[in-house]
Structure formats: structure tokens, C-alpha cells
């Protein structure tokens, strides 16, 4: 590639700039609050009522909890993933499309500061969404995490992972449509077959093997561990996989921002 790193952008020297970006992203979220706050609550209530409490009442306990309670961690992941990926990717894509991202690009902000700004905002947004779903779960099926640090850790990791993917696809997308491709064809199907609704133990052996290649399975399994204290795979495996994926995606997002891919010409 005939591209020099647009600027030596690995430094960390503008905390105010970083804070400004975090604030800007949160302001943006508040401006579109109807797309952010209500959908996860309503969707979760519907899932818990229909799958959990009506159909689920005919299903025996899984991992020592009722089916409705079993659902909650998966639903949290579903919403956190959706909220972080779609918000970040559309924020970056709009910034590129309307050139408003140049306000940051001409300022003394490094790639680290920019990526960290998006990540911090996404984590805060993710934690907010997670608590909303958690509240629904607590009210309707009386379930809460037993292991709060693990719950927080997994939520933060997953928010960071999907924020990084949001940055990557927000940079690569040539039209708004491209952003939806990942959601529609990859994220949603993988989450649905990734153990949100059922344990792998209920699945035929072949599908069980295939599921092990599904990254979403490890996220759901790790978070569920925080609720039930047990999982389909050992915690070290699920948490290790999620951490590794997060580190890789974050590194790619950082590298692309530092190179100025589709940002600096």
C-alpha cells in the first residue's frame, strides 16, 4: 500500500478531545433516544412473555433456573450487541458522509483517542441498555446476576468488540445499506443460533459441533455464567474467546483509524 500513516497517531495527549468525543456520542444517542431506549425494553418484555413465560412454562429447568430466567442473559447480549454496533457504525458512516468527522480529523486527536472515545461511549451505552433489560428480567422473572464483576466484564468486552466492528464497518461502508449487511446476514442469525434461546445440550450433535465455531455462543455462555454459575463450556474458554475476539477487532479498528482508511485521502 502506498500509504504512509497519515500522522504519527499513536500518542495519548489530548484527554479533553477524547472526553469531547465521548460527550458528543452520548448527546447523539440522547437525540435518537426513541431508537435506543424503548426497543430493547419492549423487545425484551415480548420475548420474556411469549417465549419465557408462556411456552417456557412447559420446559423443564435449564442450568438450575426456569426457562424464562435462562433467556435473560441471551436477551441482554442481543440488545447490547445491536445497540453498540448499529450506533457506532451509523455515527461513523454519517460523519464520513457529511464530512463532519473532519472536525476531529483536523484537530490534534490521535487514532487512539478517537477509537477510545467511541469505545467509552459505546460501553456506557451498552451498560445502560444491559441494565434496562436486566430490570425487565428482575421485574418479570426475578433473576439477577450472581456474579456482578463477571456480568460487568462480559458486557464491557462485548460492547468494546461490537463498537470496534462498528468502527470497521462504518469506515468500509460505501452506502448506508452496507452497514445493515453485517446485522442482517451475520450478527442476528449467529446470535439466534448462539444459545440465546436454548442450551446446546438440547441440540443434535452436528449442530452442537457447528455452534462451537459461532463466536456469539461464547458471549452468551460467558454472560449466562454470571447468572447461573454454570455454562455449556468452561468459563475460561468462553471468556478467553470473547477477550481474544475483542482484542483483534479493537486492533483492526485502531490500525484502520491510524491509516486513515476512507478518512484521510
Amino acid at each position: 500500500m502506498n500509504r504512509t500513516e497519515a500522522t504519527a497517531v499513536w500518542g495519548f495527549g489530548n484527554p479533553v478531545g477524547l472526553g469531547t468525543l465521548v460527550k458528543r456520542e452520548l448527546v447523539r444517542t440522547l437525540k435518537v433516544i426513541n431508537q435506543v431506549i424503548w426497543p430493547p425494553i419492549i423487545t425484551t418484555v415480548l420475548y420474556v412473555l411469549i417465549f419465557g413465560l408462556s411456552i417456557g412454562s412447559r420446559i423443564p429447568q435449564i442450568q438450575g433456573v426456569s426457562y424464562a430466567a435462562y433467556l435473560v442473559p441471551g436477551l441482554i447480549m442481543l440488545q447490547v450487541i445491536d445497540a453498540t454496533y448499529s450506533e457506532v457504525s451509523s455515527s461513523i458512516f454519517q460523519g464520513r458522509f457529511m464530512n463532519s468527522i473532519q472536525e476531529m480529523l483536523i484537530a490534534p486527536m490521535s487514532a487512539v483517542e478517537m477509537v477510545l472515545g467511541y469505545v467509552i461511549a459505546a460501553v456506557l451505552r451498552g451498560l445502560l441498555i444491559a441494565s434496562l433489560v436486566l430490570m425487565v428480567g428482575a421485574l418479570l422473572v426475578h433473576t439477577l446476576p450472581r456474579n456482578w464483576p463477571l456480568y460487568l466484564l462480559v458486557t464491557v468486552l462485548v460492547a468494546t468488540l461490537f463498537c470496534s466492528l462498528g468502527i470497521i464497518f462504518g469506515l468500509l461502508a460505501e452506502k448506508f445499506d452496507h452497514i445493515a449487511v453485517l446485522t442482517t446476514f451475520v450478527i442476528t442469525p449467529l446470535v439466534f443460533v448462539g444459545g440465546v434461546f436454548t442450551t446446546m445440550r438440547f441440540m443434535p450433535p452436528l449442530i452442537r459441533e457447528v455452534s462451537l465455531a459461532n463466536p456469539m455462543f461464547y458471549m452468551v455462555d460467558a454472560l449466562r455464567f454470571a447468572f447461573t454459575g454454570t455454562g455449556d463450556v468452561p468459563l475460561a474458554v468462553s471468556l478467553g474467546t470473547v477477550s481474544a475476539l475483542t482484542v483483534i477487532a479493537l486492533a483492526v479498528a485502531l490500525r484502520m483509524t491510524a491509516l486513515g482508511v476512507k478518512l484521510r485521502v
Binding site: N2, R3, T4, E5, A6, T7, A8, V9, G11, G13, N14, V16, G17, G19, T20, L21, K23, R24, V27, R28, K31, M98, N99, S100, Q102, E103, M104, L105, I106, A107, P108, M109, G260, R264, V265
Partner: protein, 309 residues
Amino acid sequence: MSANGSVPALKIEALSKRYGEFLAVDDISLRVEAGDFFGFLGPNGAGKTTTINAIVGLASITRGSIEVFGHDNVRDWRTSRTLIGLAPQEYNFDRYLSIRDILIYQAGYYGLRPREVRARADELLERFGLTSKAKETFVKLSGGMKRRLTLARALIHQPRLLILDEPTAGVDVELRIELWALLRELNAGGTTIILTTHYLEEAESLCRNIAIIGNGRIAAMGPTEELVTQHGPATLSVTVDRAVETLAPALAARGARRDGDPRTLYFDGLSPAQIAPTLAEIEAAGYAVENLEFRRANLQDVFLELVRR
């Protein structure tokens, strides 16, 4: 280009920028002294915006170097960027923020806390006639207000070098004159200004020094006055009461020529001081002057001459 020993506001050395096979900027070197009002002219696609993008960090540099007040814009990019304020040609405001917040957040990206810049933001809004719109988003602004906001935003962090890409494109005459006054005032206050423009009268009226760029290369550079006199001489045309049959020797010595109309004489390259003696010689040769026109060359002549080459 008087190298007076002080650090120049901008020093570009052997800058080239390549996009694949296309060489957008081809080995440009230039120097803009601190405090200057510098015009960067050229036809569309000549490489003006590419050069600006390279200065502010929106484009990577293929070869060469750029220094802003002595700070290399790659090695010392934070300082270099802090010293520059950019008013881009296209509106690129954040549409999730109010007008006032656009200024405050832009300052934030430059590392300034809101409490440090609130007063300055309000002052700029007042100065640029935007106070009544402070709480609106930019889509509610008129074209002229958007232009003024571009300028206010570029100034929020008190840059020492202000770069304006086509600051008066699509702006009506009244606002253009208003913007010119603002720019002169800023320059008088010590801000170095570089502008690109399509309006040559704008460059001629505002800029002390000019570079003309064509096909990615600098075609001419120097003080505006010098460029104009050097490349486009002035012409005096005198219409007399009857056809001029033979030129008197004194008139021939002054370079008189005829062109079409037998009653009109043309003198090229005259300075204003030579007009009166020339007219006296015409009358001494027995002609009565009926009409005369003195046309100084302007930047447009220079521009066309250089760009057509």
C-alpha cells in the same frame, strides 16, 4: 519572498501528492511569512484543495515536507494542527449539535475545556451575527450564516494561521464585502491568512502575495502588485478627431500602434506618469484628443496568460 529571518507561518518544501497514477501536486515549494495575507489561485482541479488537505492533515504526503510556524506537520502534528484554523469549502457541521455547541465541541477537539471557551464562543457568535441562532442546528441557517459559522468555528481555538478554501463561494455581493472586512480585520490583528478563491478581484483586493497553481505546479508566485505589472502591462488608447495617416516620430518613439480603427492610437506598457506627456505630443502633432482610456492589467490577465501556457 523576503527571508527576513523570522519563522514563516507556512513552509512547503518539494511537496508531491499522488493518487494512484495521478499526480495531483507536483513538487510544490512555497513560503508564507507570518502576518501575510496569501492567495492561492488556480483553475478547478489544479491541486489547491489537495495542498490544503496535506497542510491540515486530511491528506497524507507522498513526498516533501510541510512546516507550520516551524513545526513539521507529520512529526510534530499536534502542535502544527493546533496552530491552524480551517474553514473548508463544503459545509461539514455536526448536525446533532446546536450552533453554540458546534463551536464549543470543536474547541474541545483542540483540547480546550468548555468553561475556557464559552465566553469566546459567545463573543464569536455576536461578532458574526449568529447570537439569535445560537440554540438552533445548522440546517436552520441561511447560506450567509453558514459561511460565517464556518469562519467562527475556524477561529474558536485562536489559530495563528487561518486557511480559507473558497470563503465566498456562492455568497452574495453584500456578504462578500462584509466577509472581506472581517478577514482584513483579522489579518490586521496578526492572524496569517491563506485563501483560495475563484474570484480574482477578491485575491487582488485582499492578498499581498499570491501563488498561481496549474496542473499541480506553481506557475507564478510573488507580491500581487509585481505579478500584475510584470505579466500584464497597462495600455493607453487615445481616439483623435481624424484618421492618423503617418505617425509623428515622437509618437512612434513612444511605441504608438494602430489597430483597426484609424482614429485610435494604442500605447502599451505606459506608467500612469507617462500619460500627460504622451497626450501633449499627440496635440503637438496636430490632433485633438476626443476620448481616452487607460486600462491597467489585472490579475485576470495574468491568470489567463499563465494558465493558458
